[in-house]
Amino acid sequence: MFHFSNIVRTKSDPKIIEGGPSLKRPADQLARALGWFSIGLGVVELLAPRRVTETLGMEGNETMVRAFGIREIMAGIMSLSVDKNAGLWARVGGDGLDAAALLSGLTGDNPKKGNIALALLMVGGIAMLDYRAAQDTKPRRPARDARRKLFPNRSGYPKGLEGARGAARQIAANAAKSPSLNPT
């Protein structure tokens, strides 16, 4: 990418000769892929719900499919953001909802129940990836009850806090005496 962005740099601005290691882990790449997949699926569900319900033999559930589409898009956006872990857990929850909805259509009189079984298999596979990515992108912030270093001796005033307050009082007193700073 930086080869393209070099177009906007002046001739003598530094340019990359050799790239260093990236901070991105494979789990971050997986989260990104799942995020875009979620948005893509969501757009299909939102814009073509009838195609989805017909494929699954679940006609009449278009509103639910649209709602699921919005949920997929939101979870996808979250998975692409800095809060990707929350987005991936939202996707894991969404996978559960998808599975429950599909199971409700898996009835004996549904002529497309083969498609539903296939869809269930796919949801299962994706759910495993979602779970794996969610586990691997857990925020590395310390727990709230983790032991922290404290800095009770770092006042920053070499002459002490009272010295700093005293100097400020002295300046204020001098300013009060100075006629130039106190126009009448």
């Binding site: 530094p14 270093k149 070499p158």
Partner: protein, 391 residues
């Protein structure tokens, strides 16, 4: 040379890049001896501020030794001089510079057409801080080209360690300006939101400027303990109500002066639903900032008081209580720091031992470890408050 380079959201790498060269007679090249990661670098790390491009060098807190000067520098700095580099690039000649409004220098933003469109009028060029402010390569590197170097420098004496001087580049004058903007009087109670590096400097600045009481607000024990050491009364917003506690500490009147050192990435928590809504809107690009602190300051500030904003905001902020702001007759003062307006005074205070800004440093590591330190700083791991990098 080695440099920390932005490759995308949460992706900063230590790359090998070409050395900077003199481009203009007023340029100088410095060999960086120390640089630091700023809290506002995290906004770029998260890609919350638009205008970064892959290949941009990070960093705007830098100092070092002059190794080359252009022909137009006119003796104002010379090879071998030790300088701190202010994060704002200034020409020293335009009307704003002559007034001391250095952060809105009208000359130095070389991509002013972008700034004119986004901000209405251009502001100064900044090091390592998006193409909106000139796209200048930053100082988290072994060498840095300083444009307009005859004006853009703070000459510092030998004999004082880098650690005491480095923060003249940004966080010390930023905390100082935040406090000065409050017109602090000896009876004032000053509340400061955010006890990161700028917040810590604002606490000390308010004390040095004679505030009656300084109240610091954060949720991290290490930051609160450092704030207490600096003379502040502390409020942990995760365990106490900020509004209730501030009113309690000020006889129900509210603090006369409020300083925002948190900025656009206010802490998100369920007990403050506005932060959740802001985060959701920020995610879908319906809002740029999470202005919870601004809302709280307007609500709790004593009528007739002053609100000073040092924390960085990038664009649009929703649901600001302008009714309260107007009816309470509050004054808001903001701005990127006019670094060179304050640094003579601050350098004198360091030399006289009034303050030693190195108190804020918790981590010093080689430049090569910079990328992982961005994560450590962001995640508040290892009680990290301020990272200094050594090229």
């Amino acid at each position: 040379m080695k440099a920390l380079v932005w490759h995308g959201k949460e992706d900063i790498r230590c790359d090998t890049v070409t050395d900077p060269e003199i481009q203009d007679p007023r340029d100088a090249i410095i060999k960086v001896t120390s640089c630091a990661i700023c809290g506002s670098d995290l906004h770029l790390f998260h890609n919350f501020i638009p205008g970064m491009l892959p290949g941009d060098i990070m960093g705007h807190e830098t100092m070092g030794e002059v190794v080359e000067v252009g022909s137009g520098v006119d003796g104002k700095i010379k090879k071998g001089d030790r300088v701190v580099v202010p994060f704002t690039i200034i020409c020293g000649e335009c009307e704003q510079c002559k007034r001391g409004n250095f952060s809105v220098c009208e000359t130095t933003n070389r991509k002013r057409h972008l700034a004119d469109k986004v901000f209405g009028h251009t502001t100064a060029g900044l090091f390592g801080y998006t193409h909106l402010t000139g796209g200048y390569p930053g100082g988290q590197a072994e060498y840095l080209r300083v444009p307009y170097a005859d004006a853009t420098h703070i000459k510092v004496p030998a004999g004082i360690p880098d650690e005491q001087l480095l923060f003249l580049s940004d966080i010390f004058p930023t905390g100082w300006q935040a406090a000065v903007q409050c017109d602090i009087e000896p009876t004032d109670r000053v509340a400061i939101w955010g006890c990161g590096p700028v917040g810590q400097m604002a606490i000390r600045s308010a004390i040095l400027l004679g505030a009656n009481q300084v109240i610091a607000i954060d949720c991290l024990p290490e930051r609160l303990s450092m704030a207490e050491a600096g003379g502040a009364t502390t409020i942990n917003f995760e365990t106490e109500s900020v509004v209730e506690r501030l009113n309690e500490l000020t006889d129900g009147k509210g603090p006369e002066k409020c300083i925002d050192c948190a900025g656009m990435e206010a802490h998100v928590m369920a007990s403050q639903p506005d932060t959740l809504l802001d985060r959701a809107k920020q995610m879908v690009m319906l809002e740029n900032d999470r202005p919870h602190v601004l809302r709280e300051m307007i609500y709790v500030c004593r009528p007739g008081g002053i609100i000073s904003v040092a924390g960085v905001y990038s664009g649009l902020s929703d649901m600001l209580p302008m009714g309260a702001f107007m009816n309470k007759g509050l004054t808001m003062r903001t701005g990127q720091t006019h670094v060179n307006r304050w640094t003579d005074d601050l350098l004198r205070r360091i030399e006289q031992g009034e303050i030693d800004p190195s108190f804020v440093i918790t981590h010093t590591v080689p430049l090569e470890q910079g990328p992982e330190m961005y994560q450590v700083f962001r995640d508040k791991r290892d009680s990290c408050i301020k990272v200094v990098l050594k090229p």
